[in-house]
């Protein structure tokens, strides 16, 4: 019984963890390629969810149109963002980029409900909502879908970075912008591409998270979980995003199962951050991250 309970918690933790990885992936791709830090990743997800909910609920179009609209919307949004906000900040201290994305997060959180309405809407995935019972595990179809999408993208991105010509070019840009430029790589185009990839990931993340939580401004709180995930896994590592996501998912589920009765709730949001602080003290570059050596 006790073991079953633990297994149940771990099983759900794995699914939620993979869904975190999906969002963290957007963060990692942008950081890897452009060195920019996206504090608005959660708000990206919220925006995508709002878009797809607006299409499916307000305009009563089929689900796939909603996904398509949020994909296209997020790609053009992140392209535009890179152009208008982030390009002028190139070469400025890292603090400026952080502040700009914090400002962006505030804009999206403020204006999102202004345009799409403040009430909670629901996105229905075409997968039903009967939990799948598999031995000790009880899996929600929504979460299974989310986890599957996450795995698909993780595989796709891994292939992209290792095998495709564009992926290799992007790694070159991430490694050293000047040398990449000298090799004839159009660095600015790859910056835009990285942001567009973050947009794609956020669009799908928005649909699955929106389907799970209901679509309103609170979806953006998912973004707060991105930081423990990427810090644990390593900021510039895709496999790190997966491992970090799994750790965070499992830890927060175990905390919610075992610690909540003791302290009266809320450990779910708290435990990943404690873990993250420990990680920052011991190994700030994460499990798979690249250690940066600074020279004057």
């Amino acid at each position: 019984m006790e073991l079953d309970f633990t297994l149940l918690l771990i099983g759900n933790g794995v699914l939620i963890g993979l869904m975190y990885s999906l969002i963290a992936l957007g963060f990692v791709v942008v950081y890897k390629a452009t060195d920019a830090i996206n504090f608005a990743q959660g708000e990206f997800v919220m925006l995508a969810a709002l878009m797809s909910a607006a299409v499916t609920v307000l305009m009563e179009l089929p689900f796939w149109v909603g996904v398509l609209v949020s994909l296209l919307g997020m790609i053009s949004f992140s392209f535009g963002l890179e152009r208008v906000v982030l390009r002028p900040l190139l070469g400025r201290p890292i603090v400026a980029v952080i502040m700009a994305t914090i400002g962006l997060a505030a804009i999206l959180r403020g204006l999102g409900p202004l345009f799409f309405g403040a009430e909670t809407r629901s996105i229905t995935l075409p997968v039903g909502d009967e939990p799948i019972i598999l031995g000790p595990f009880m899996l929600q179809p929504v979460q299974v879908t989310g986890a599957a999408v996450a795995l698909l993208f993780l595989g796709g991105f891994t292939w992209f970075f290792l095998k495709s010509r564009m992926g290799v070019a992007m790694r070159a840009v991430a490694d050293n912008q000047q040398v990449a430029m000298a090799m004839g790589i159009n660095v600015e185009r790859y910056f835009a591409l990285a942001w567009a990839m973050a947009g794609i990931v956020s669009a799908l993340g928005g649909v699955v998270w929106g389907a799970m939580l209901g679509v309103d401004v609170h979806v953006s709180l998912v973004g707060l979980k991105v930081f423990p995930v990427v810090i644990l896994g390593g900021l510039d590592s895709i496999i790190g995003a997966v491992v970090g996501g799994l750790i965070v998912g499992i830890v927060e589920n175990l905390a919610a199962g075992y610690l909540d009765p003791l302290v009266g709730g809320g450990t779910k949001d708290f435990a990943p951050y404690v873990l993250m602080i420990i990680a920052l003290m011991i190994r700030p570059y994460g499990i798979f991250g690249k250690r940066k050596i600074e020279r004057v």
């Binding site: 700009a100 914090i102 505030a106 700030p284």
Partner: protein, 362 residues
Amino acid sequence: MFHRESGYFKTTYAADSGLYPLPIAKWTIGVLLAGFILLPTISTALSGAVSAEYYVSVVNLILIAVVGALGLNILVGYTGQISIGHAAFMSVGAYTAANLAVKLGLPFWVTLPAGGLMAAFIGAIVGIPSLRIKGLYLAIATLAAQLIIEWVINHTPAISGGSQASIEVPRPTVLGYPLKTQRELYYFLLFFAVLAIVGTLNLVRSRIGRAFIAIRDQDIAAEIIGIDIFRYKLTAFAISSFYAGVTGVLYTYYLGIANYENFLITTSIDYLAMIIIGGLGSVLGSILGAIFVTLLPILIRVFMESFGTLLFSASELNNVIPATRLGLFGLLIIVFLVVEPEGLNRLWRNIRNYFRVWPFSY
């Protein structure tokens, strides 16, 4: 202000780093201070006692924000260490003071420094990782601090006072006289705001402040010329958090209640907006930013209440006002970062430089 420095030669280092390089600057400060002391009287004379009470209460909010913005600017603007947890340190100060004032019945001149010191202590602990990590990592670590402090206060009835996590505090008493009206609070707050301004001005031209600036500009170079980075970073965190704690205490006395909901992450972002809009690494910028960011939501509210009904229904308006405020803050942060990174302070300097030689600018 608008004066010319011609014919005035600085011949000593003391004169060069003086706060008031010219006699006329002293006069300007004197006039400004007199204006601020007379402000409640003037506003009463102009607009009657009732609305004057409201205007003074707005100024009080600004004075509180000035102290907090100065604190954050010491850390972010002068030392270059980003912090997204400023509001959490305010809540530490607020709850420390509220508990001392209610449970032990201590007066404000004990609870205020106690709140500040407690916040400084917690801030220094949060600052410890800053030796090893910087930039993004520090931002995330302070974000974690914000969330963890919030959670701890919320889940510890001994600190938060149980229901609703709020504690009512008695009015501060000065020489046995309780400060009840906004006007009386105004002088109380003005005293601390001026203290904070003068304190910061002196801090940033002292050895410590110069060390902060050196760390901001190039931390490795600063270490090589003999600045103990760890000590000065912790000092910066402690001083900044001390200011934040004092802000929290002042805000608690202003509201008469300590409540963690006033110190959420959105408040941290408000303060970041203040120093970016005002100007990083500038005392005047902190003041201008505090004024701007405090007045903006009030102006939005006034504007929306008079014109918003044309676009939205009355029930929608309650959601629209905070949403517009948040969106506008974000927009202003980005616009200032992209267009004018030195903020309002730079705009003010441009205006002043223009008029300094006006009308013979060639």
